[in-house]
Each structure stands twice: as C-alpha cells, then as structure tokens.
C-alpha cells in the first residue's frame, strides 16, 4: 500500500479525534467562562440586589 493511500485511510479517524478534542476544549472554555462570570458577577449582582433591601435584610443572616 502506497504512503498516500495510508494517509487517506487514517485521515477520517484523525479528523474525528480532532473534532472530539475540539469539543472537549470548547466545553472546558464554556466552563471556565462560567466560573469567571460567577466569581466576578456574583458580588456585582449582590450589590445590585442590596439596593432593593432594607438595612435589616442586608445586615441579617441570609434567608
């Protein structure tokens, strides 16, 4: 079997592996983005909702 035939046969397998790897990286990217948004965004969200609370609600234990 010529070298070029071998390349043609292995290419679909490699493409599928690359696609799987790509999907995994994409999922990891979304997870990291979600984590970053939560860490940065939660205190901002808390600040915004605190504007609609009474002092007792802010200073007291969370309900």
């Amino acid at each position: 079997m010529a070298l070029s035939d071998e390349l043609v046969l292995t290419q679909p397998v490699e493409n599928a592996a690359a696609r799987r790897r790509g999907r995994r990286w994409r999922a990891a990217g979304y997870l990291a983005m979600l984590l970053a948004v939560l860490v940065i965004g939660l205190p901002v969200y808390w600040t915004l909702i605190a504007a609609f609370k009474t002092s007792a609600e802010i200073y007291g234990p969370p309900t």
Partner: protein, 303 residues
C-alpha cells in the same frame, strides 16, 4: 525657486510666529501642570524638611530629622514590606489572570460579549462600594465565602480580623476590582495581532503552545509592558479599598505606604513625616518605572 521658499520660511518674523504658536499651544497645559503637579511635588519636598502640624504659622526647618525619625522606625520598614507584598501579588495576579481571561473570551464562544461586560463591571464600581460589599462576603458568620466553604464542611477564616488573612483578602478584592481593566487592554492587544501570523504558524506546523509562545506573547508585549507600568503605579496608590475594608489593620497588617502617609498627615497631623513618606513613595515608583522601562521595554516587540 526652492531656495526662495526656504528663505521665506526662515525669516525672523515667521520663526517668531511659530515660536508664539508653540507657546500658545503648550503654555496653558504647562501652566496647569506646573501649578497642580510640579508645585505640590516641590512643596512636599520642602515639607519633608520642616516640623509642622498644618496649623502653626511657623515651620521650623529641621534638616534630615524627619527622615532619620521615619527611617529608624521599625514600623516604617514593616509598612514598606507590606506595600511590596501587596504590589507584587496584586500586579502579578492581575497580569496573569487578565491574560488568561482575555485569551478565553477572545475565543469564538457564545455569550462572550455578556461575559466581557460582566468581567468589566467591577472596574466602574466605586472602590468604597466594592470594599463594603466584600466586607459582607468575608463575614465569618453570614458571608458568601463562609456559606460556600460550609458546603464542603469547611469554616471560613476571620478574613479581615486576623493578621494572616487580612492581606490576602485585600489583594483578592483589589485584583477582583481591577482584573476587568487588564482583560480589556489584553483583548485590544489580542485583536491587533494580524491573523496571517497565526496562519503562517499553522502552515509551519506550530501547535497551540508554540503559537501562543511565538505569536501571541510577542504580539502582546507592548500591551503587557503598558499594563505592568500602569498597574504598578496604580497599586502603589491604592487607598480606598484598604481604608474601607480594613482601615490598615488588624494592627498594621494591611497598612501600605499611601495609607501610612494619610495617617501621618491627616490623623496625627505630622506634615513633615508625611512629606518624607510621600518622597519615599515617589522615589520608589520612579525607580521601579525606570527599571521597567530599562529592562522590560527591551523585550517589547512593536513590529
């Protein structure tokens, strides 16, 4: 003909006119800069050589007494160390995490614009508000961190009440507030790197790490240099978060030079020693910036 034009251009009247235009354009700025920047700098230098409490009409000249008094105090060196720890950790974390987040949200992911807006939102918040919010989050009884740690069976340390945890807490809040700025600047840098360089690297068989190492990092070097200089200067002057979050405490665990300057000047009304600390702070920032310009700028590629 050309020589005639040259002669017309270089007539004394024309040169005088150009000089007047130059003075008119630069003068107002120079005047304001002189009044509001250089004069306070010079006056502060003078204050560091006198004994004064802001009220007495006379300011006795004491030569280097204020300097000797400040430099011989153990507290001052502790505060210098606090300042260096605060600056190194804050700038280091901001630059590294900022780069990581910028690389992340530069990817073609959905909702990345919403993520960018969220990441930038703390930058536009007031430092005092941020500090108040985080003082609730750090609360060892009801705080958000205590509740999150409680989920995995851990207790929250008394972040703001112990000397071991107060500085990490202040650094965390400072980085949280300023990270978005670094992300936006890095993003601008990333989007300025020509796409063809990545394509060429791909053709040459470069993997993701090689592309990052040989295309992204050199392309980002001017931006990273700018960020490192401005972040160091801003961190040395960080005051609002420290004042509201810990008030320099517990004991002096989070007292930095700028906070010490404020205490000397506006709590104990010792203008001389406050002047000394301001001079020291100015010199530290000047030397650090010169070092950065001298050594970091060599590695910057503007090509």
């Amino acid at each position: 003909m050309a020589s005639l034009q040259q002669r017309i251009r270089s007539t004394p009247a024309r040169r005088w006119g150009e000089w007047l235009l130059f003075v008119a354009l630069i003068g107002p700025n120079l005047l304001l800069f002189g009044i509001f920047t250089y004069w306070p700098l010079i006056y502060n230098g003078y204050l560091s050589f006198v004994r004064w409490n802001f009220l007495r009409p006379v300011k006795p000249f004491v030569w280097f007494d204020n300097y000797l008094s400040v430099f011989s105090s153990r507290l001052f060196w502790e505060i210098v160390l606090n300042t260096l720890v605060f600056t190194v950790w804050s700038v280091g974390l901001t630059l590294v995490l900022g780069l990581a987040l910028a690389l992340l949200i530069n990817q073609p992911l959905r909702y990345r614009n919403a993520a960018r807006a969220t990441l930038f939102s703390p930058v536009v918040m007031s430092g005092a508000v941020v500090a108040v919010v985080w003082s609730y989050i750090f609360d060892p009884r009801y705080g958000l961190i205590d509740q999150l740690l409680g989920l995995v069976g851990l207790n929250s340390p008394d972040w703001l009440g112990t000397t071991e945890w107060a500085m990490p807490a202040v650094i965390m809040v400072y980085v949280w507030k300023n990270l978005g700025y670094a992300v936006v600047i890095y993003l601008a840098g990333l989007q300025g790197i020509p796409r063809e360089l990545y394509d060429a690297a791909l053709v040459d068989g470069a993997g993701p790490w090689a592309r990052f190492r040989h295309v992204t990092l050199p392309g980002l070097s001017p931006v990273a240099f700018f960020l490192s200089v401005t972040s160091v200067l801003a961190t040395f002057q960080a005051f609002d978060i420290i004042k509201v979050l810990t008030d320099g405490g517990p004991v002096t665990a989070t007292t930095t030079l700028i906070f010490y300057l404020y205490e000397l000047g506006f709590v104990t009304y010792d203008a001389g020693k406050a002047g000394v600390v301001a001079v020291v702070l100015f010199l530290i920032m000047l030397v650090l910036t010169l070092i950065q310009v001298r050594y970091l700028e060599r590695r910057v590629s503007y090509g």
